[in-house]
Homo-oligomer: 665 residues x 2
Amino acid sequence: MSKMDEMAVNAIRILAADSVQKANSGHPGMPLGCAAVAYELWAKHLKHNPKNPQWINRDRFVLSAGHGSTLLYSLLHLFGYGGLAIEDLARFRQEDSLTPGHPEYGHTVGVEATTGPLGAGMGMAVGMAMAEAHLAAIFNKDGFPVVDHYTYALGGDGCMMEGISSEAFSLAGTLGLHKLIVFYDSNEITIEGSTEIAFTEDVAQKMQAFGFQTLTVEDGNDLASIGRAIEMAKAETNKPSCIIVKTQIGYGCPAKQGKASAHGEPLGAENVAALKEKLGWEKTDAFYVPAVVYDHYRAIADQKAADEAAWNAMFASYSEKYPEMRTLWARYYEEKITADLIDREEFWAFTDKPEATRNLSGILLNRIKDWLPNLIGGSADLAPSNKTNMSGAGDFSRHNYSGRNIHFGVREIAMAAIGNGLALHGGLKPFVATFFVFSDYLKPMARLAALMGLPVTYVLSHDSIGVGEDGPTHEPVEQLAMLRAMPNFAVFRPADATETCAAWYYAMTSAKTPTALVLSRQNLPPLQGSSKEALKGGYILADSQKAMPDGIIMASGSEVELAVNAKAALAKENIDVRVVSMPSLDVFATQTSEYRESVLPKNVRARVAVEAASDFGWDKYVGLDGACVTMNTFGASAPAKTLFEKFGFTTENVVATMKGLLASR
Amino acid sequence: MSKMDEMAVNAIRILAADSVQKANSGHPGMPLGCAAVAYELWAKHLKHNPKNPQWINRDRFVLSAGHGSTLLYSLLHLFGYGGLAIEDLARFRQEDSLTPGHPEYGHTVGVEATTGPLGAGMGMAVGMAMAEAHLAAIFNKDGFPVVDHYTYALGGDGCMMEGISSEAFSLAGTLGLHKLIVFYDSNEITIEGSTEIAFTEDVAQKMQAFGFQTLTVEDGNDLASIGRAIEMAKAETNKPSCIIVKTQIGYGCPAKQGKASAHGEPLGAENVAALKEKLGWEKTDAFYVPAVVYDHYRAIADQKAADEAAWNAMFASYSEKYPEMRTLWARYYEEKITADLIDREEFWAFTDKPEATRNLSGILLNRIKDWLPNLIGGSADLAPSNKTNMSGAGDFSRHNYSGRNIHFGVREIAMAAIGNGLALHGGLKPFVATFFVFSDYLKPMARLAALMGLPVTYVLSHDSIGVGEDGPTHEPVEQLAMLRAMPNFAVFRPADATETCAAWYYAMTSAKTPTALVLSRQNLPPLQGSSKEALKGGYILADSQKAMPDGIIMASGSEVELAVNAKAALAKENIDVRVVSMPSLDVFATQTSEYRESVLPKNVRARVAVEAASDFGWDKYVGLDGACVTMNTFGASAPAKTLFEKFGFTTENVVATMKGLLASR
């Protein structure tokens, strides 16, 4: 290794150690151990343009071991990304700084994904590699590889232990994603001690079983070996590659290297000094980097810019030669959907027969797929049940990356991470699907979508005890509350065709909020009064004749019908109630207080909420004087109709509940 | 295969097919494909006593592919378990039947675990095998293997694809659990089609990488081969074994075998008839089993009973020879904890200095470990942070199965499944631990614990933006709502030492409800007024002087201090409020309405809830006229103190909120 390379690598180490020390909080061990790998990759292999971090055809780099954020921040600073200054590094983990504890997408320029929950970055990287493969298949022409980049991910023992990575890697192997290159930072240390205590599997053998090429770098500080491994990974054109790099956690810090204590706490001032001495750093001042090192990084960055310039020239020729492709490109990368769909009569058109909302969703998906060519997605092996097959759109496989139906296999959490990766890559509109009860499995990745502001769509069918015979393991009860409680996440549980259209419309036009479509297995009738007002999340479906209703019945999905029937029954007893359909409590909560008051006047206190799920969260609208017709057990196995009666979801019970409230006043 | 064996195997197939057909709902494909494997195991290898399904030293069998429930029900019926009659099979998937859609622990005798969510059974089986290894290490004496049984699990492609199984198998291999034997029903079919589309990994190679012996049975109907594989699995004494059995989904049904359509829908009356013809079944009547077949199974069951008789005799001698061990046995298997702990002063004793509830929890855990020798558990590689190390209790490892500290590795969902398995096995009191935000990962298995009524304890530290610098990926916001919304699940978020004691007390004495202990990273002061009343979930910590308080401030955990300070500040302005500490909204909700009314009188409407988390769910107690001091974003990365101020968790804000409510009245 040249002296300059050595200094460049050590600059990463010094900045990372200083950042953590200044913050008095953070994870120095991983950046010290992986600095050489990161430098070799970023300086000599990664196709990127620090002057334009958004360059569409850049290689993607995901730091799956998100706790090593100072590794990434140091790289971004040294390469001159977006003005990330030394002062920003010095404000690591401080309020409103550009350098939060874990990398945050959309917050710090050059961060491709929010990471921290281990393994998540691996799943998202697989999604990015799938996006690249798909877009390349759609857009590339002979001599014009306009979509042509690698996706790199870097993670440690934790990332390899998490089940999400096994799921994602198994699918990546099946799909032969050869432009995915995973670095495994193998340092044999976890928080509780040596990997001997909990992790003795043969990772190389496992990755081979998944269909990866594996390469091992015995010395994680040997740039030449790392470089050769990267070249060999690129040379493999049938399989993804995993480069196992043997590193030492906390490398360079005499008192800490190779120890668990290097992982998650500052080295200490003395140890930082010892690190600088050991590495032969010329000054001990915090955040000191010699000018020659900056010059070195700047020179590399200047060269890198030429890659984009060449691509821009190629893309200009491509646009000229294939104007229809340039037009299509705009539909993938540039189109704003806006009001286009909402005004299409054929989008909202449905016949009047009862239909399961999952079926309606399937019909809509097949309408939308023609308008949005970049809609891509699939199910965790439940497409026939979720109704998510896009007919004629092809299956995404190693033999056909242009297919838009993805077969995720029985891998819910990796599916959701891949959905995030598809969205992060850019150019695509992803959806994923499973049974609603299994939203439990994908929740950690839905949270990341919400945190990153990615408009991923979750098609979640079989939404209640309407599941019927499959019983409690398959019957969602608390999942609506789980998802509704999540910030920046919209849950729609539509009651009929019109509301299902509204839900899909919301999902497809959402820019920064993921959307879950919670759909019935069983048929639901079209409702008189349902309308595009559903886009407000809650609206008056059937009003009282009175200025001030005697009461309000609110419901979502399959239970709106009960509310409507109860209103009719109550009317016969001269009780005049309003029915409010609440397809999305989340969206309703974002409406103006005036609108919410107009739907749910504060003075009307006889309020009943009806939903075949937990009451949790409904009290916000029911209040201390109302009542819920809901359920707080896990359901049972029996035909759906039986279960609705068993658990009290009947018109009679809704009527009795409302009358009970009115009588007690 | 003998004619009798053949008929015995086919009886399973016929009963399964008839059950599904009668219900007009269910999954016939797997039972038809796996009948021979199941028969060979249950008839010739499995140590069980159908006359006493609860025999402590029985082999465990977990049907991880829970959708194949009719396989299990047919076996239980044919072996004469608990009077499971042919009429019960005929009521498959009907209301209140003993044969629900997926096997339910505690509902149907002989069902060792509730399964259905794929992969879960694999994790639970690993837990059972760990329980056996631990108890054997504690109790066995030379010549007295009083704990000595195998754990078998049977799953299909779906179970192998789910990440939970990779996590669990990797740990099983590390731990060398040689008495764990996993059957992989390899039929190359998933719901969406051939495994080619999503699952081409080399499962044998993967399992070897995890440290398993692998054995392959090429013909899943060849009893002799299956038997030999089981014997070879038992002969391996260093590693767990995986027996890969090549089967044909829907075997025996000419129109369906080998097809995805065999998986999840009835065969149809004609196909059932064709099945019976193909298998040479002597009558076509539904649920017909020849008397000779019943006789055959009865004879096996009679022999099996002798195994238990022999064990009983050995246990009697053991008890005589080792009376101290018999006493210890009672503490593991028979002791009711009841009021033992609550009256121990030393359990509740703490000094008065401020302390993080995670630290208090760690101290308590170390007190409890001496009183409850069967307490066992650990963390997903965060023990130093979760404070879950039991000092002097040893590490559970392949070299020391008597250790009580389990190192789960970074595997939250498998950890929780293993916790379930430890509890299901009997004899042990398990706890598991991770950061609270990562309860997202383990939620699917916590749900199974709640559904099964297992008193697993979840130690979940770092419970809010008090996490501080690690930022949004590590800061729980909606997790309290997620867990509180779950039926039969108790969440405690204690405010100080006394409440932490109450929380642990609740967890340790709970018989049928899992408990989450949600603990602070940061120090909290001891609160004047905190008491054992915390066991009621909510109680008056500091009361108003007035019979009817001017308002009520409720809070949990770290925010109770704010409520107390706000009360003092309001008092200076002659506003006299009550402070209600709500360590467990779940438990409070189970109190009598009289008690709840005494704490939260309905007429007091100026109510403020304070919690550094989502408001979701608090409205049940806040009502339409109250207000929440909560947060509905994902937090930020900065020192904790900064974040509490940034997000409005200050005495001033609580005071202002209460005054705002009072002013608007």
